[in-house]
Amino acid sequence: VMLHSKNVKVFLENTLKPYDLHSVDFKTSSLQSSILLTATNGGIMSFATSNSDVPKNSINEINSVNNLKMMSLLVKDKWSEDENNTVEQPTNSCYPVEIESFKTKIYTYEMEDLHACVAQIPNSDLLLLFIAESTFPYGLLVIKIERAIRELSDLFGYRLG
């Protein structure tokens, strides 16, 4: 099965949107990045970033893509470590969730001055990774990524190669 790369990219772009609440005076920035990566080697399958003003193929854009690659690798390694962590100590940064009777876990990580949130798309070789500024609350990132995963049911069970 092939990924519909255009629709996947648009979907990731749609996940970047910020919150702007009116019941209380609270708003967030957009996500900095939304990335679909492989759980096997941390390679990036597709990504969207909110700094769209970076000119294409400029040195800045190349740097920011290299940054994303580096962060994706770091998160994938940490995720693998946590997933294989048999000693089930409940931590504040791991949220077991059940989506359409599939189980997965949402992890929150601090990466330098950024907030990262990652979850395996159920039964697949794919991870969804959100990267936001440190002002974006972890609890809200968890809600956001869980809702996004629910919309990715086309990719449940997706296996590479």
């Binding site: 609270f26 504040n92 940064s93 609350p137 972890y138 609890g139 809200l140």
Partner: protein, 65 residues
């Protein structure tokens, strides 16, 4: 009357914070241990603030007045 709010989840992670709540995130540790009544409500006071708590669906809202 509202001076600020904090909404936090069962892991003690912030969902939103406003006003004085944004400068008192560390209160979550203590507020998450306050005994709630059968309906999920409680009130605590300290630092010349009255904090109204209400928890539902694993999300606790703290309103500072």
């Amino acid at each position: 009357n509202i001076k600020g709010t904090i909404a936090f989840d069962s892991h003690g992670n912030v969902i939103e914070s406003t006003g004085v709540g944004s400068t008192r995130i560390e209160d979550i540790c203590e507020l998450s241990r306050v005994a709630l009544d059968a309906e999920g409500f409680a009130q605590v006071q300290g630092d010349s603030l009255l904090v109204h708590l209400y928890k539902r669906d694993d999300v606790t809202l703290a309103v500072y007045t």
